[in-house]
């Protein structure tokens, strides 16, 4: 299948839409002919996609089409899955992440991930956020670590809610707070890219709105790749949308255009609710 791909940052239409359109600069992640398998299951088929700095790209598509798999290829989390294989090329800032010398552990510090279900560690709120900086040696003393923790919590709007109970377990927070804690934990490591796999699917509408606002704010500093099942959410937070079906990238384009004028029949069927 062929993907009809807009050239990112090209064309006047691109420059006039989306909150972050001005910031679109150069390619951050370049995916070329990426294939992925779980044992015999061919989960991704020859995906080619460029993700640029300053953009929020939403991956949509029916259940089982490979959205999560694509995300997990970007931080090599699928390396940990028994029987998972990947072929093709993914470049981060021009550097091949599947090349031999690349340490996946170091890669994951640059490409953070937020999961579908909030998964705070059974530790204190403070330690949840401090965990990443600690293992990467980002702070030389306690004061510096405090600083990172506070800035990260502030960044996700959680600091004023939990300032007095940083010692309490992160698992005691509400679902929405837990998810923001997980985002804080991710940005505490200082990544360039944040992968989000249906980050709001376990949350109520109010908590969802908070996370969506947060994504808008974070978009200034991070490249965000978000998987979502909600068209509204994709429309609200993303500047571009990529539609996957059966492991293939069907269509990718600027958000407004995909929703108003999809080029591909499958895309149209999906966004109008005929499949998926």
């Amino acid at each position: 299948m062929t993907a009809s791909t807009d050239e990112t940052g090209a064309g006047p239409r691109e420059a006039t839409t989306g909150p972050t359109a001005d910031a679109i600069r150069e390619t951050c992640i370049a995916i070329r002919e990426l294939d992925a398998w779980y044992g015999d299951i061919h989960a991704l088929r020859s995906i080619s996609l460029d993700i640029a700095y300053g953009e929020v790209i939403a991956l949509i598509g029916p259940s089982g089409c490979g959205k999560t798999t694509l995300l997990r290829c970007l931080n090599r989390l699928n390396d940990e899955v028994e029987g998972a294989r990947v072929a093709g090329s993914v470049r981060l800032d021009g550097q091949e992440i599947y090349a031999r010398p690349v340490d996946p552990v170091a890669l994951r510090a640059r490409v953070g991930m937020v999961f579908q279900k909030p998964n705070p560690f059974p530790k204190s709120i403070y330690d949840n956020v401090a965990y990443g900086p600690r293992i990467h040696g980002l702070a030389t003393d306690r004061a510096q670590l405090d600083d990172i923790v506070h800035v990260s919590l502030e960044r996700v709007g959680l600091l004023k809610e939990v300032r007095d109970r940083l010692d309490e377990p992160g698992t005691d927070l509400s679902g929405g707070q837990q998810q923001r804690l997980c985002i804080a934990r991710t940005i505490a490591v200082g990544p360039e890219v944040i992968l989000m796999d249906e980050p709001c699917s376990a949350l109520d509408p109010i908590a969802t709105a908070r996370i969506e606002d947060l994504i808008d704010e974070l978009a200034e500093d991070y490249v965000i790749v978000i998987v979502t099942h909600s068209m509204q959410q994709a429309a609200r937070v993303s500047s571009r949308v990529a539609y996957l079906n059966h492991g293939s990238l069907i269509e990718v384009g600027e958000t407004n255009r995909i929703f108003t004028n999809p080029q591909h029949k499958l895309t149209e069927d999906y966004i109008t609710g005929r499949i998926g």
């Binding site: 989390l77 940990e80 994951r108 991930m113 998964n119 059974p122 990443g132 293992i135 997980c182 490591v189």
Partner: protein, 461 residues
Amino acid sequence: MNMTTVVLLLSGVGIAAFYAGRSRALRLGGGIDAARHLHSLPGYYGYFVAIWATLPAAFVLLGWLLVRERLLIAWVVTGLPESIRELPPGQLDLLLNNVLNLAVLPDAVAADPVIAAATEHYRAAVEISQWSVAVAVGALAMLGTWLALRLVRPGFRARNRVEAVISRFLVAASSIAILTTIGIVLSVLFEALRFFEQVPLHEFLFGTSWSPQTAIRDDQVGSSGSFGIAPLLAGTLLITLISMLIALPIGLMSAVFTAEYSTSRIRGVVKPLLEVLAGIPTVVYGFFAVLSVAPWVRGLGEALGLDVASESALAAGLVMGVMIIPLISSLADDAIRAVPDSLREGATALGATRYETIVGIILPAAMPGIAGGVLLAVSRAIGETMIVVMAAGLAANLTANPLEAVTTVTVQIVTLLVGDQEFESAKTLAAFALGLMLFVITMLLNVLGLTFVRRYRERYE
């Protein structure tokens, strides 16, 4: 008519009642499509009738079997002449025993006319009682069948009745386990209390010397017996400690390996092997300890210029440690694998290495479960008997030196009760006091351990 026949006949009645009940239900329900008119499936009506046919009769039969002996003897006694009934109880019992023994031998006739008469009397009583019981049981079975059959109507809730009976049976079955436990605990408790009448509690708990040899005859000298439990507890503790020093690190590391590092193929080999280790009878570990490990420890000690007893706490502890490895590793493996994958992935996605993830996230999260497992393992080590009986020795030394021979609570219980014993002596009763002690300790550890394990399980529901 003997009892086996009665039981067989009753079973026959039950089966017949089942078919009678079922066919009546089918007939009243209207033949082919009876199932639509009946409240319950036809079979339930059959079971219902069968239950009423057999259960009351079976209870009567059972009740009769329980009191039979006593009733028959009472019956024989009333038939004896006055002079013999007035005999002292001991002699009367002897005579009755004679009667009972004679009665079961066919054609045997006693020389003593009184006994001969009593035997005849007894035989007649047995005959009559068996017939009357058989008749009573039969009548009850008929009555039950008839009453139950009358109840069988299409709207009758046979299933609910049958299920109620079944649930009673289940309750009864589970109470057997509970009642047995309570019975054992109480009997140990009462015997222990009798022990404490002879030996004061504080002497037992705080005395530092254990030598349970009491004088059996008055003219024996030198063995007044002392029952201080301290050396036994010290020995138990020492061996437990040594075994945990072996089992804890090895078991934990093997659990981390199987749960986190091994591929599913390796896991498929390692886990069953560990379970084989867990299935080896402790007596095998015991002779392994005596024949291989103890001499080896002794030889090693000698090579180092140390004085090692031929039965040392170290040898027993080492082998017990090996025995406990699979227990710890399997409980810890469960605890580690119960940590949700989302935590693993969360840490990995932050750039933690596998080792960092395990040490920083997985093990802390699994700690309550692991701690619970360790407590269970400790209580297992404390209660373990065979290995220490064979390898630890009998010397009640109050020592912390693992190279000396020590003895444990379990070993002493065994030695106190092996061989001919006088049941009333402090020496024998001491076994019960030790048993009570052991029971209290291991029960506390188990309760604590299970609480940990359970609380931990709930956390990730």
